[in-house]
């Protein structure tokens, strides 16, 4: 009988301290996520130094909880997986150095994982039978990529944002509307009370055939709209603005993902990353895919947020190919996915 592969994974690239035990790449035995959102709220965004301090305070307990919940012992582990980029360098270093210490102490291999790659793997956890190839949109506070997933570890980036990430645009607009932080879920919620066609915000498709994104123009027109209303002394309808803004973002995201799926003859249009939790994006994408006979896949919200289970899944497919990392591995804040 084939031996099970158990991987302890760690993720600290932004403001979530997370640890998970993943069996054979697809089975999540535990997935502990300690969020710092409440701490960063008062600053209106993630403060890197504060995030790094909190990661260091919490990481050992988070790992203990993950081990306990999985009922595993350290001797049962085959490898330690960790995100080494992209992300906030100070935050990445806590997870990475802790992982190196664990790997060294246990004398088992370290597997460094790209955070964006990790988001794709949330879908392999969600859908046990899913196999590449397929086309995937990874959209979060830091990234907006359309990726052709050719095989495990083999990716072609079809498009990426040229300025703001999709989630970043949500955060900035939410801040301007004084909704709070983080912006994604707050805009999603208030938009349900607004009219998506109330204001005609621009949709930036860039040049014909491009899968790239640009959200800075949209962000500026939302800010201009708010300023104009204020100057004219007119009442600002936050729900209408949020709904119209959100519609502009998700319309472009969904269109480009569908076009990419058609071009690559992918049977699936797959979502990943924090923005994949947006209810309107899921709804609109499902509508557009139905016309083209493409199946829409997206993970549960808990797997859309930054979490270590997805890192453990990605690490499994590297580990079985013998792709382990040196204990001199450094954090790379702008790590790219293109190979």
């Amino acid at each position: 009988m084939k031996k099970d592969i158990n991987i302890l994974a760690i993720e600290t690239s932004c403001d979530e301290t997370s640890s998970s035990i993943v069996k054979n790449g697809r089975e999540v035995l535990s997935n502990i996520i300690s969020s710092q959102i409440d701490i960063h709220k008062k600053f209106g965004g993630v403060v890197p130094e504060v995030a790094s301090r909190k990661h260091l305070e919490r990481i050992s307990d988070v790992i203990d909880l993950a081990m306990n919940e999985s009922k595993m012992k350290y001797k049962d582990l085959d490898a330690i997986a960790v995100t080494y980029g992209p992300g906030l360098v100070g935050a990445l270093l806590i997870g990475l150095t802790t992982a190196k210490g664990l790997a060294y102490g246990l004398n088992i291999p370290l597997v460094g994982v790209n955070h964006i790659e990790g988001h794709i793997f949330a879908n392999f956890i969600q859908y046990k039978d899913l196999e590449p190839p397929f086309v995937c949109l990874v959209a979060s506070g830091g990234h907006s990529h359309i990726i052709n997933v050719l095989n495990y570890g083999n990716y072609k980036i079809m498009g990426r944002t040229r300025d703001d990430a999709a989630g970043e645009a949500f955060d900035k607009v939410a801040r301007t509307l004084e909704l709070g932080y983080p912006g994604g879920p707050l805009i999603d919620k208030i938009s349900k009370k607004g009219k998506a066609d109330a204001i005609d915000f621009p949709r930036s498709y860039l040049e014909e055939g491009s899968y790239d994104f640009s959200f800075s123009g949209l962000k500026s027109s939302v800010l201009n709209h708010i300023n104009t209303m204020k100057m004219k002394g007119l009442e600002i309808n936050a729900a209408d603005i949020a709904a119209s803004f959100q519609e502009s973002v998700v319309d472009v995201l969904a269109d480009k993902l569908v076009w990419a799926a058609i071009e690559k003859k992918s049977p699936y249009a797959v979502l990943a990353g924090g923005v994949a939790a947006n209810s309107r994006l899921r709804e609109l994408l499902t509508e557009k895919c139905k016309e083209n006979n493409i199946k829409v896949l997206y993970p549960d919200p808990i797997l859309c947020t930054d979490n270590a289970a997805m890192i453990g899944s990605a690490a499994y497919y590297k580990f079985i190919k013998g792709e382990t990392s040196s204990l001199n591995l450094n954090a790379i804040p702008n790590l790219s996915l293109s190979l």
Partner: protein, 377 residues
């Protein structure tokens, strides 16, 4: 017993292993490379050089600050990770003690200074009594000029070390005749000193589990400092309903505190008095009292709540009373301060006050002299 210790609090990284009381291996590397890339290799080199494996170590130790925020975290993460994997205890050693321990046996005072940027250093004044390291004065994070001022009264030799020496050696040499400087081999923290102190802590029973290790950054993150600055301290005239809080701070600050009745008189009955408070988080953080007599201002008391010290609130209060004196058209300000209250004297000097005289044995509790200071407006 086998202790493995590391230090990553400054530009240099080091690891050392003490086995049964003797230093078996120490590795010190100051090559400008990132700590995160090399820390595990250095630890591995030291352990293997002693013919051991990580699981043979009884106690792991690291310096816990102050120092480079990222450097400290890399060291602590590595040590915590290894200790967690092996289920071994940890000790955390304050970096300033580690530095002082580089100079064990030195007869005078030892003043480690670690660069805290913006003309500031982290510093504590130590002295060895036999083999025991005694803390004489904790300066926390302090402007280098203020530190030099605070060290003025000491006559003994003072040995300086730490990366602050690279920046401020000339300045210190020019101001303090009794200043000495550690030689090049001792100027930065060394893991062998961390290990020696770890053994002392071990014998005293001060062991931690990996979950409990906390770094002592001394300084908050810049974002928190800015947040406090922008959101918190406001200085306003004191009101009668604030007397209770002020009396509490008075009690926490002075041996012979003024009573409720004294403050009540000052606020409600004395026409010459002017009292201000610094408010933060809805609480009183500090206060200052003055009398406006003819063309002079007499400062009666200034104090800051212990929870809010080292945030520049005392300085804000002094600046505000100087403003009040100027706006009221007064010519000079005077105050008395205890001879031993070096911190206050330095604060007043920074704001232009000069010592002009003494009142012998002015303070009844200790028989100390009062220094009379004046500022001309």
């Amino acid at each position: 017993m086998k202790v493995l210790a590391i230090d990553t609090s400054t530009v240099a990284a080091s690891a050392a292993l003490i086995q049964d009381g003797s230093l078996c291996c120490e590795y010190f590397l100051n090559d400008g490379k990132k700590h995160s890339e090399k820390i595990i290799s250095i630890i591995d080199y030291v352990i293997k050089s002693c013919g051991l494996e990580a699981k043979d170590i009884d106690v792991f130790s690291c310096s816990i600050g102050p120092g480079s925020f990222t450097g400290l975290r890399v060291g602590a993460s590595a040590i915590k990770g290894i200790a967690q994997a092996l289920g071994k205890p940890i000790t955390g050693i304050p970096t300033l003690e580690v530095l002082a321990y580089n100079l064990r046996g030195f007869k005078g005072l030892i003043c480690p200074i670690i660069d805290a940027q913006r003309e500031m250093v982290y510093s504590t004044l130590f002295r060895f009594e036999g083999d025991t390291l005694l803390k004489i004065k904790d300066f926390s994070a302090i402007v280098i000029d203020d530190l030099i001022c605070r060290l003025g009264p000491y006559d003994d030799d003072i040995a300086f070390l730490g990366d602050g020496v690279f920046l401020y050696q000339n300045k210190i040499k020019n101001s303090l005749k009794n200043a000495r400087f550690a030689d090049v081999g001792n100027i930065l923290p060394r893991a062998s000193s961390v290990a020696s102190l770890a053994i002392i802590k071990y014998k005293e029973g001060h062991l931690l589990w990996y979950n409990d290790l906390r770094l002592d950054y001394i300084r908050k993150s810049q974002a928190e400092v800015e947040y406090e600055k922008n959101h918190i301290v406001t200085i306003v005239n004191m009101k009668a309903e604030e007397i209770d809080e002020v009396v509490e701070i008075e009690g926490l600050s002075f041996n012979n505190p003024w009573s409720y009745e004294s403050f009540d008189f000052e606020i409600n009955k004395n026409n010459l008095s002017r009292y201000i408070v610094a408010k933060t988080d809805g609480r009183i953080a500090g206060y200052a009292g003055t009398w406006l007599v003819f063309d002079e201002m007499h400062v009666t008391n200034i104090a800051v709540h212990p929870d809010y010290r080292n945030r520049g609130i005392g300085n804000k209060l002094v600046e505000e009373i100087i403003n009040i004196a100027r706006e009221s058209g007064l010519k000079r300000i005077t105050l008395e301060v205890r001879n031993s209250n070096n911190q206050a004297i330095c604060l007043y000097e920074k704001n232009g006050f000069k010592a002009e005289g003494f009142r012998k044995k002015y303070y009844a509790d200790t028989g100390e002299d009062a220094i009379i200071m004046w500022k001309e407006l």
